[in-house]
Symmetry: C2
Subunit: 254 residues, 2 copies
Amino acid sequence: MHDKATRPLPPIAEAAPLHAVLACVFQVREGTLQVLLWQRARDPQRGRWALPGGRLDRREPLEQTIRRHLATKVDVRELSWLEQLATLGDPDRNPRHWELATAYLGLVPSNVDPRLPADTRWHPVDALPPTAFDHGTVIDLARERLRAKLSYTNLGFALAPAEFTIAELAAHYSAALGYRVSQTNLRRVLERRGAIVPTGELRRPGREGGRPASVWRFASRKLAVTDPFAVLRPPQRPSRRANGYRRSSTTVDR
Amino acid sequence: MHDKATRPLPPIAEAAPLHAVLACVFQVREGTLQVLLWQRARDPQRGRWALPGGRLDRREPLEQTIRRHLATKVDVRELSWLEQLATLGDPDRNPRHWELATAYLGLVPSNVDPRLPADTRWHPVDALPPTAFDHGTVIDLARERLRAKLSYTNLGFALAPAEFTIAELAAHYSAALGYRVSQTNLRRVLERRGAIVPTGELRRPGREGGRPASVWRFASRKLAVTDPFAVLRPPQRPSRRANGYRRSSTTVDR
DNA sequence: GCAAAAGTGTTGTAATTACACCCATGT
DNA sequence: ACATGGGTGTAATTACAACACTTTTGC
C-alpha cells in the first residue's frame, strides 16, 4: 500500500494545507481558571501569546500528536482530560501560508505544577494578554465546552485532585464556571448522581477552627454523562416571582 | 506576505496531509431518518457507500468548501443546518495516502427533494449498507449530535418544513430520536420554551375525519439554546417506583 | 351516532435552589 | 464562649411524563 510513496505526487498542492494541532489547556490555579500560553518570539505576531501545539506527524493519530507536543514543548504530561474541539480552516487565518489547525481542550488537575519553559505562562482567562491568530476564538470555544460538560457530566474529576473537600471542589467549579457555586447544592447534585463518594476521612480544620470537612473523591475518573440534561445553572436571582417560566434562551448564530 | 510562495517549501511533507471535507446529511423521509450516501465505483473500497465531500480549496473557508461539494456533486443546496462535527486523522484511515477529513453534520428539511445523481441515494440510518473508511463512525457521531441538540435547542426547525401540525412535527422528532415522542408533551415543551408559535391556520382533516389540526411554525429558524439543560428524555417505562432517583449514567470512554 | 384525530386538564413526581438552622473544632 | 467553617433539614419552584378526558371533524 505504500508503493505509491515513491511516485511524484499529483497536482494537488491546493488540497494539501499545512496542518497544526493546538491545545487550550486549562488549570484552576489560585482560585481562577487559567490557560497555558506561549509568547511568540518571532514574526508573524511576535510578542503575542499563542496556544501550544505543533505540526502533525504522519505516524501518529491526531490526539497522540497534541499529547507529544504538550509533553515535549511545555512539559505538560499529566492531562486529566483531552478532547477535540474544532478545526479552523479560514484561508487567511495564518498570513504566511495556508494552514489548518485542529484544536483540543485539555485539562490539568489543580494539584500538579508542570515545569514550564521560560516563554510559557499560565494566564487567568479573564485577563488574557493579546492572543495570536485565531487562538482567542479557540479559548472561548474551550471555555464554553468546559462549562457545558461540567454541568451534565462528572468532568469535575479532571479539575480537582484525587481527594478534596466539598469546599475545595466548589471553588474549582466556581472558577471554571465563572459564578459562585454553593457547596451545599453542589454536594447534593454530585452525590445524588453518584459522581462523588466520601472516603471516610476528615480534613483537619485550619488555623481558624471550624468543623472538620469530610474528604471525597470522584467515583470514576472517566467521563460519564451523569445527567443527559443537566444542571448547576447560575443563580437566577432577579424576580423569582412573575408567571415566569422565562428561562433564558441564548441565540447562537450557526 | 506571499513573497515566500516562490521559495521551495521546507521539508515538511510529513506535516502536510491531504485534507478532505465530508458531510453526514440527514433528512426525515418516509417517517425515518435517512443519510445521503454515495456508492464508490472504484477502489479502494469499491462498492461501499461513502459520505459525500471532497478536497479543500485554498481560497475557501472549510464550511464553504463542504457546501460547494454538496451543491455540485449531489445537488444539495438547501441545507437548513450545517455544523462541524470532528476531524479524523488516524494515519491509516485511508489505505492509499495520508488524508485527514473534517466531517460536518448537515440537515435538509423534509419538504425538499434534491435531484440526486445515479450513484447517490438516501439510506435509513437503521439499515445502512456497508460504509467506506471511517464513515460509519461519522454517522454515529452525527446521530448523537443531532439527538442531543434536538433536546436542548430549537433545531427541529431544520428537520421540518416551515409550517407543520404538531402531529407532523412529532413524527419528525420520533424519526430523528429513534423513540416515540408524544404530541401532547412535545407541544407543551416547545410552546413553553417559545420555540414554536401557532400561525392561526387550521389544516383540513383527511379522509378519515378527525379534528382539524392547527398549523405551527418555529419562532426562529436560527439555532437557539432553548433549554441549556434539556428534555425529551425517552419514556422511562420500567418501574417508576423505587426510591429511584436512578437516572441512567452513560459512560463515555474519552 | 361513531370512529378518528387533535387538543386540554390534571395528577404525580424528580430535580433543584434557597435558606434557616445545627454541629464540630480552635483559640 | 464564641467565632469559624462544615453540614443537614426543608420549603418553594420548576419542568416534566402520563393519562384521562373533551372537542371537532368525516362518514
